[in-house]
């Protein structure tokens, strides 16, 4: 059994798509929570960078994974708090504030991360993320015809991941249940659909929005931390490379659903890899359609198509949180 059979090429491709999709998935879950409260936070890129820098620098300074995770969440929450104060309390324009947060976050993160450019992830944290907790030992059946390759295929696609991947999938399921099956989720959705209705129903609109924005920020921080700590193993300036923007597009693409976020992130993750993989084919290199820059554009094209399809929906269909992007004044008629 080698990695060169077509089946295994596919398996390895899918597995790396899953790995590439992780920061996208976690970021999308965070932004979904935020947007469900009716706030459009375009600062995902900034928050991911802030979380990533804070978490990675903490990791190499303290050698502690727990502190690193807390710092990543804390760094991104600081950015989210800045956004929440301006947009919820002072009702500033959400788009402008989000864009400001992106620029601000990048500046802060690149400054903080400067000292960590040549550092690499501490070995025991590396080891922790190399650990594949669900990987079964298949040596007994590996050589059995048909069954063996099938088992190896499934293991490569489903079970050879680090704990971050499984936690992210679990998080998507939990968030989906929270959103649709619990009182908290109902309140969050009412606030995002119609804050005046929420207010009249006795739901604390501002508190709910603060909560959603900060939780969303924390998740963006964890998404940002994955890149230097697990994916690259070191800090690079602007390490997110536009993934924050893909997240913003993904939230719309998956229509604010945590479960669909898994599929959407996988698709966009796969597109990211295709860009790299195609570079290995010189016969395609000359074709501008397959240039990695053009392929990097596909997620946005897909999102635009989904956006158009979404707004062409028949009446009664759900087009996202009703109050998305709108500030709420109680005393306004």
């Amino acid at each position: 059994m080698t990695d060169t059979t077509p089946l295994m090429v596919l398996a390895v491709f899918l597995a790396s798509a899953v790995r590439y999709s992780m920061p996208l998935l976690v970021g999308t879950l965070g932004e979904t929570v935020t947007e469900r409260s009716g706030h459009l936070n375009l600062g995902v890129e900034g928050m991911m960078l802030m979380g990533g820098a804070a978490g990675f620098v903490t990791a190499i300074r303290t050698d502690s994974l727990v502190l690193s995770l807390l710092a990543a969440m804390g760094g991104a929450i600081a950015g989210a708090l800045f956004y929440a104060v301006l947009t919820v309390t002072f009702r500033a324009n959400q788009v402008v504030t989000g864009l400001a947060l992106t620029l601000f976050g990048a500046g802060v993160a690149n400054t903080v991360g400067k000292g960590a450019v040549h550092a690499s992830t501490p070995p025991h944290i590396q080891a922790f993320f190399a650990w594949q907790p669900l990987r079964p030992d298949l040596s007994a059946i590996e050589s059995v015809p048909v069954l063996g390759p099938a088992a190896v295929f499934l293991r490569t696609v489903l079970l050879e991941y680090n704990i971050y991947v499984y936690m992210a999938v679990l998080l998507a399921v939990v968030l989906s249940l929270l959103l649709h099956r619990t009182r908290l989720g109902l309140h969050l959705r009412v606030v995002g659909e119609n804050p005046a209705s929420a207010d009249a129903s006795g739901i604390r609109v501002a508190a709910t929005r603060y909560g959603a924005i900060l939780v969303g920020g924390a998740l963006c921080g964890l998404a940002g931390l994955y890149l230097p700590l697990v994916h690259n193993g070191t800090w690079v300036e602007n390490i997110t490379g536009g993934r924050g923007w893909i997240v913003v597009a993904l939230v719309i693409f998956v229509r604010w659903s945590p479960l669909r976020a898994m599929l959407g992130a996988l698709l966009f993750g796969a597109l990211e890899i295709i860009g790299f993989k195609l570079q290995g084919f010189p016969q395609l290199a000359g074709n501008p359609l397959f240039s990695q820059y053009i392929i990097g554009m596909y997620p946005y094209i897909i999102t635009v198509i989904v956006l158009v399809a979404n707004s062409a929906r028949k009446k009664g269909g759900w087009r996202g949180p009703g109050a998305l992007g709108l500030p709420y004044f109680r005393e306004e008629r």
Binding site: R189, V190, S201, G316
Partner: protein, 554 residues
Amino acid sequence: MGGPVPSAECPAIEMAGICKSFGHVRANHNVGFSVRSGEIHALLGENGSGKSTLMNILSGIYLPDAGSVAVRGRHVAFRSPRDAIAIGIGMVHQHFKLVESMTAMENIVAGTGRGLRLDRQQARERIRAFSRRFEMGLDPDKRVHDMSVGEKQTVEILKVLYRGADILVLDEPTAVLTPQEIGRLFGILRLMRQEGHSVIFISHKLNEVMSLCDRVTVLRRGETVGTVAVADCTTSRLVEMMVGRVVDLSIDRPRVQSSGLCLSVRNLSVRDEEGIRKLDDVSFDLHHGEILGVAGLAGSGQKELCETIAGLQAAEGGRIAFHGNDILGRSPRDIIRLGISMSFIPEDRLGMGLVAGMDIADNVMLKDYAFRPGLFLDRTAARKKAREIVSRLSIDTPGIFHPVRKLSGGNIQKVILGREIDLNPKLLITAYAVRGLDIHSSYTIYRLLNDQKVKGVAVLYIGEDLDVLLELCDRILVLFNGRVTGIVDARSSTKERIGLMMTGETPRAEGWQVPLPVPPLPASNACPVADRLLSPDSDRTMPAGPDGKGGGPC
């Protein structure tokens, strides 16, 4: 007032010395208001009299500048709607505060209970129990956007009851309901009174107040005029308290010699951009010197009818002829040039027709500038015209350079109507012209429309209040789901019949003529057969036509 111990004698609500100002505007000044348990108490007053402010204070949305609120003898100070809900005060807002994409149950349950767990089954059962108790017939799992206006209101009321409120505030609850739905609502409210709940009922419609309520408190210019028992009161006395002087409440309906056919609509069908049919085979005639009313539930195609005639919406099929010329497919500007004016007052009053941030003079100029020669705008003429409109319609404004947005609703509507009338239209389409207006402003508008009618203008009046439609219009066209369920003579029709037609019932009762078929175009002039069929007691002089056997072509 009252000791700290609640007793049976204590009024459910006692508000005293309430003051609230917004900037320099005194919305409430030393207002006193008291409601007993187990009564339906009306709160009456013109626009800007401070009713809404007072109720917003009672439901925790505004903080009063001064004064005290006591509920069942206990002093309270609300900081948010949560506090008011907690003590048992629930408000049913005029514009429903519901999440359209969610079910009745989700809307009702949101904001109640504690903890993470949401027991849908239990909530459903509780809602059903309430629904049975007050004979509401609500399906907890129906989505709000699939509901009629009446059902939505039921959800709002249930939402309040579900929270354990025994003091209900209803802000103009009947404004958008059919007579049948109003009857149902009153049944529900009377059941609540029987159970000892207090209901505060805000309305402009005096006949409703007289038939439903026990006592009335009247506000005028932010102050309490007085509280009276309905039993020892008359409608005209209430109006006098509201307005401050005696007002004649009858609406004039001059009989005008028709000078011919103005507008003919035949088999008009319109779909909206989502492909949903909004008008379905609509046919009618409108004559000069006539007010044709259009009745129908909200969203029955009124907006599409106005917009199609005004050239703002494309039709799928059919014809619209103005003085015999086909106008379907012409540009709005052409249509204005022909002498067709439209004023549509949307629910938020500002959405269409005026530019909110611009002043009165600029808004007056909006429709007229295009027909003037030259590159530059003639502001002097526009200002002169704006001054004329302001004085003729007695618009209450600091000046013609005041942004329209800052005017009160009635004055905004007068600006729109004034501008349209100033263009000397031959056909005036006006939709919801008195939406949200008080008695005084409404009557000014009715007078303006009657003046136009007497001048020979054909008026298409899209209205909400059936009493007004029946008193003001000559004929009434009833729409249901984009179809004409009938055109009736306003002088001989009743509210109940029109109410039934608004819900899709085709009239079959004695003395009723189904107005279709309308003769096909071209009709050189008024169609005598159809006319006589439609308005049997109309005194409009008509040429003797062939004996109408089922109304063939003229």
